[in-house]
C-alpha cells in the first residue's frame, strides 16, 4: 500500500519531468516550482489542503459506490446541486443553524440527485454510468439557470447567490493571517475513518461489499442487491452533496455559475488510486491536491497547467494497470 503510493509519487515526478521537457522548460526547475508552490511554505500547504478537502469528500463518495460495485460518475452533479441547495438554505438562517441546515440541505439534495440513477440501476438494471453522466449535465444547467435567475443576488453583476453570513460559515481550526485550515478538512478525515470502520465493523457494510464483490452470491446470502444499490447511491450522493455544501460554507461563501472546477471528476481518479480501503482516499486526495495547487504555481511560471492534468491521467492509467494486472495472471 505504502510502497505503491511512493512508487506512484516518484512516477508522477518522472512523468511530469518528461512532460515539461517536451514543453521546452527545465524539468528540475519546474518540479521545484511545483513542490514549492504546493508544499514549500505554510501558506502553500494550507492551499494544498484546501484543494484536497473537496477531493477527499468527493473521493469518498465515489469510493463507497465502488465498494458496492457501482461507478458513480455523477458526483460532480451531486456536488453542484448540494452546493446550490446549501447556499439557498444557509442564506436564510444566520448563525450556526444556517450552517447545520445548509449541510443537511446539501446532503439531501445530493442524495436526491443520485436517487434516479439508483432506482434505475436497482429496478431496471439501467447502467449507472450513463444515468449519472446525464444527471451531471442536468445539474450543471439546472443550477446555472437558478443562479442566473431565481436565486441570483440582484445587487451584483455576477451570476451568483448572495454571500452566506460569516456566522454561518464553517470555523477555522487553525488561523494566522497567512495560513488557514478549515474545520471541513477535519470533517473529511473523520468521514474517511468513519466510513472505513462502518465497512469493516457493521453487518450493513459487510452486505454492501458482498453485493459489490459478487452480486449473485450476495443474493443467495439473503441480501437484497436492490436495497444495497439504493443505500450505496444514497450515501454516495449525500457525500457528493456534502462536498458541495462544505465548499460553500468553508471557502466560497456562496454558489455561483461555474462553481466546481471538476472536483467530482477528479474524485474518480482519487477513488481509483485509493484502492480497497477508505483510508487510501486520504493520501490519494492529498496527492491530487498537491498536483492541483502546484499546477497553479507552474502556470504562474509560464508552464501550462494542463501538464499536471496529463500527469494525473497517466497516474490513473498506471494505477488501473497495476490494480487489474491480477485478472490476467490468475486465469
Amino acid at each position: 500500500m505504502i510502497w505503491r503510493l511512493v512508487a506512484m509519487i516518484a512516477g508522477a515526478c518522472a512523468i511530469l519531468a518528461g512532460a515539461v521537457l517536451v514543453a521546452h522548460e527545465s524539468p528540475i526547475q519546474s518540479l521545484q516550482t511545483l513542490f514549492h508552490g504546493s508544499l514549500g511554505t505554510p501558506a502553500a500547504i494550507a492551499g494544498t489542503l484546501r484543494e484536497a478537502t473537496p477531493l477527499l469528500i468527493c473521493g469518498l463518495a465515489v469510493f463507497i459506490a465502488l465498494r458496492a460495485g457501482l461507478f458513480n460518475i455523477g458526483v460532480e452533479g451531486q456536488l453542484l446541486v448540494g452546493a446550490c441547495a446549501c447556499a439557498v438554505v444557509a442564506i436564510r438562517f444566520p448563525g450556526t443553524p444556517g450552517m447545520i441546515l445548509g449541510v443537511i440541505a446539501g446532503m439531501a439534495a445530493g442524495a436526491l440527485w443520485a436517487l434516479p440513477a439508483g432506482l434505475i440501476k436497482a429496478y431496471r438494471n439501467g447502467h449507472e454510468v450513463i444515468t449519472t453522466i446525464m444527471l451531471n449535465n442536468v445539474a450543471l444547467f439546472f443550477t446555472g439557470a437558478l443562479v442566473s435567475g431565481p436565486i441570483k443576488d440582484k445587487t451584483q453583476a455576477d451570476t451568483a447567490t448572495p454571500y452566506v453570513a460569516a456566522s454561518s460559515r464553517m470555523p477555522w481550526v487553525y488561523q494566522t493571517p497567512t495560513v488557514q485550515v478549515n474545520f471541513s478538512l477535519v470533517l473529511g478525515v473523520l468521514l474517511a475513518v468513519g466510513l472505513a470502520l462502518w465497512l469493516k465493523k457493521t453487518v450493513a457494510g459487510y452486505e454492501l461489499q458482498a453485493v459489490g464483490s459478487n452480486r449473485v452470491a450476495a443474493r443467495f446470502a439473503g441480501i437484497s442487491p436492490q436495497k444495497v444499490t439504493m443505500l450505496a447511491m444514497t450515501i454516495s450522493g449525500s457525500l457528493g452533496g456534502l462536498a458541495g455544501a462544505v465548499q460553500v460554507l468553508a471557502y466560497e461563501g456562496r454558489f455561483y455559475d461555474g462553481f466546481s472546477p471538476g472536483y467530482g471528476f477528479d474524485a474518480l481518479g482519487v477513488a481509483l488510486l485509493a484502492g480497497g480501503s477508505a483510508y487510501g482516499v486520504l493520501p490519494s486526495s492529498l496527492l491530487f491536491g498537491i498536483l492541483s495547487k502546484g499546477g497553479t504555481a507552474l502556470q504562474i511560471d509560464g508552464v501550462p497547467k494542463g501538464i499536471t492534468t496529463v500527469v494525473l491521467g497517466m497516474l490513473i492509467l498506471i494505477a488501473a494497470a497495476i490494480r487489474y494486472r491480477k485478472v490476467t495472471t490468475d486465469a
Binding site: 469493516k200 465493523k201 457493521t202 453487518v203 450493513a204 457494510g205 459487510y206 452486505e207 458482498a210 464483490s213 459478487n214 449473485v216 452470491a217 443474493r219 443467495f220 446470502a221 439473503g222 441480501i223 437484497s224 490468475d330
Partner: protein, 493 residues
C-alpha cells in the same frame, strides 16, 4: 509424461509423476480431491507449465507453452465446466477458435460438422442456439470440438458428472468407437464403476504422487478405492435413522417461470417431514434450480404455496427464510456460494451474516467469525493455507467442503443441497452426507438434488424424480427402485 513435478508456492501439487498412455486406449486417472489429477492434465494440455519433467507425444518430446500449441499437436481437453457460449449457434461454437481462416465458410463447415457428427452417431441442429442444448448435448458438442480440431489425444475431466445414466452410457459408446478408430482418451473421474466398465487402464494419484497403474481387468473396485485413499476404506453402514416426524415443508401446486419466461415448474407438490432426507433425481435443467430458488425466496412463484413448519412463506424475504433456519448449498459455488477475493474468514459469514454469533446488534463480531471460520474449515477437512487467505486460493473441492460445512452450522432446519458432493472424492462425499444426516437426526430435514441417481439412492431416505418441471413420485412398491426412478427421470412411466 515422465517425472512431472509442479509446485504451487510451498505446496507440491505433483511429485515426479509418470504417466504412459498407449494409443487407442481409454485410460482413467483416479484420485481424491487435490491428488493432482486436474493439474497433471492441465500440464499435458499446455494450460500450465511444469517445473520439471518431460512430455512426449507419439515419441516426439514436446513442450507446450499454451493450449493452442497443444491442440496443434493433437492434444485437446474438455474441462469440467464446458466452454460453450450459449448465445452462439452450435456450429459457431464448434468452429470457434479454429475457423481456418479470416473468412467463414459456413456451408463447408456445416458439411464437415455433419460428417463428424454422423461418424460419432450424434445428431445436431447446427443452426440452433447452443443454449437449447441439454448438458449431454453440450458434452457431445465439446467432444466434436476436439474432433474438429483433429485431436488424437482427448482429455475428459469428469465428463459424466452432469449426465443421466442413459446419457452417460451413450457417451461411453461413442468414446469406445473413437478409441477403436485410434484416438487416445484420458478420462479423469471419481466414479469407479465407469473405470471398471469402460476403461482399459487406470492410473491412481494420491497427494501428487503416482501410486499405481493397473490394467482394469486385473483390479477391482475395492482395490482401487484402497489405492485412492491409501489404506483400507471401511464403508460406513448407512443406517436410515429416519422416523417420520412432523411435516416441515409442504409445497402445493407450485408453478414457477424460468429466467427465459418459460414455465420451469408445473404444479409441483410434495411434503418433507422433519428428520427426512429427500433426494430429487433428474437430469440437469428439469426444474431443480427453480424449485430451490423459489423455496429460498429468490424467485416468486406464479402460483402455489410453500409452507414451512405450518407457516405460509409467501411474504418472507430470503433473509427471513435464512433466519427461520433455511440453508442452501448452492449449485455453483463460484458464482453463488463464495466471494472469491474475500478471506475465508469473511466468507464464513456469507449468508449467515445477520445471525448470532456472526452479528451482534448490527455489528460484525470478528472474533466469533474467525472462530466459526475455523470450525467450518475443520468440519469437512477443508485444506487451506490460513483463514486470512483469499477463497480463490482453495481448490474447487475444498471450496465445496467449506460451503457445505457453512450451510450446516448454526442449527439449520431445512437444508437445500444442490449437488452437495460436487467434485468431492469418496471420503469427502461420505463426510458431507454424514453431516447432512447429523442435522436431520436432530429434527431438521434436507432436500438433495443430484444428477447421480446411485448417490441419491444410497444416501437419501426417499427419492423422487423431476422431469420437465414436473415432480414425480415413484409408486410405493417401487419407492427406491433404480429402474423405476430412472424411468421417471426421462418422463416415461
Amino acid at each position: 509424461m515422465l517425472g512431472i513435478t509442479k509446485k504451487f508456492g510451498a505446496v507440491t501439487a505433483l511429485d515426479r509423476v509418470d504417466l504412459e498412455v498407449s494409443q487407442g486406449a481409454i485410460h482413467a486417472i483416479v484420485g481424491e480431491n487435490g491428488a493432482g489429477k486436474t493439474t497433471l492434465m492441465r500440464i499435458l494440455y499446455g494450460a500450465l507449465a511444469s517445473d520439471d519433467g518431460t512430455v512426449e507425444v507419439e515419441t516426439h518430446a514436446v513442450k507446450f507453452g499454451s493450449s493452442r500449441e497443444a491442440i496443434q499437436c493433437g492434444v485437446g481437453m474438455v474441462s469440467q465446466h464446458y466452454g460453450i457460449i450459449p448465445e452462439l449457434t452450435c456450429l459457431q461454437n464448434l468452429i470457434l477458435g479454429a475457423e481456418g481462416g479470416p473468412i467463414l465458410r459456413n456451408r463447408a463447415a456445416e458439411e464437415r460438422a455433419k460428417m463428424l457428427a454422423t461418424r460419432m452417431g450424434f445428431e445436431f441442429n447446427w443452426q440452433a442456439e447452443a443454449s437449447t442444448l441439454s448438458p449431454a448435448g453440450a458434452q457431445k458438442l465439446e467432444i466434436l470440438k476436439l474432433l474438429w480440431r483433429e485431436a488424437r489425444i482427448m482429455i475428459l475431466d469428469e465428463p459424466t458428472a452432469m449426465l443421466s445414466p442413459a446419457d452417460a452410457n451413450a457417451l461411453f459408446v461413442s468414446l469406445d468407437s473413437l478409441a477403436k478408430d485410434g484416438a487416445t482418451i484420458i478420462l479423469v473421474t471419481h466414479r469407479l464403476p465407469e473405470v471398471l466398465e469402460h476403461c482399459s487402464r487406470v492410473t491412481v494419484l494420491r497427494n501428487g504422487k503416482r501410486i499405481d497403474e493397473k490394467a482394469v481387468t486385473e483390479t477391482s473396485g475395492s482395490e482401487l478405492a484402497q489405492l485412492i485413499v491409501g489404506g483400507a476404506l471401511d464403508k460406513p453402514e448407512i443406517t436410515s435413522s429416519f422416523r417420520p416426524g412432523d411435516r416441515l415443508l409442504e409445497i402445493t401446486n407450485l408453478t414457477v417461470k424460468g429466467n427465459r419466461g418459460d414455465i420451469a415448474l408445473k404444479g409441483v407438490g410434495f411434503n418433507v417431514r422433519s428428520g427426512e432426507i429427500l433426494g430429487i433425481a433428474g437430469v440437469d435443467g428439469s426444474g431443480q434450480r427453480e424449485l430451490f430458488e423459489s423455496i429460498a425466496g429468490l424467485i416468486k412463484p406464479v402460483e402455489g404455496a410453500i409452507s414451512f413448519a405450518e407457516q405460509d412463506t409467501a411474504g418472507w424475504t430470503p433473509a427471513q427464510r435464512i433466519a427461520h433456519g433455511l440453508r442452501m448449498i448452492p449449485e455453483d459455488r463460484h458464482a453463488q456460494g463464495v466471494v472469491e477475493n474475500w478471506s475465508l474468514d469473511a466468507n464464513a459469514a456469507l449468508g449467515l451474516q445477520r445471525l448470532k454469533p456472526f452479528a451482534r446488534g448490527g455489528r460484525v463480531d470478528e472474533k466469533a467469525r474467525h472462530r466459526m471460520a475455523g470450525e467450518i474449515a475443520e468440519r469437512f477437512n477443508t485444506k487451506h493455507g490460513g483463514l486470512n487467505l483469499q477463497m480463490s486460493s482453495l481448490s474447487g473441492g475444498n471450496q465445496q467442503r467449506f460451503v457445505a460445512a457453512r450451510s450446516l452450522c448454526l442449527n439449520p432446519r431445512l437444508v437445500l443441497a444442490f449437488q452437495p458432493a460436487r467434485g468431492l472424492d469418496i471420503k469427502g462425499t461420505q463426510k458431507v452426507y454424514e453431516g447432512i444426516r447429523d442435522v436431520c437426526r436432530s429434527g431438521s430435514a434436507a432436500l438433495v438434488v443430484s444428477f447421480d441417481l446411485d448417490e441419491l439412492l444410497e444416501q437419501c431416505d426417499r427419492v423422487v424424480a423431476m422431469n420437465h418441471g414436473r415432480l414425480l413420485e415413484p409408486e410405493a412398491h417401487q419407492a427406491m427402485d433404480r429402474d423405476a426412478i430412472g424411468r421417471l427421470m426421462v418422463g416415461a412411466q
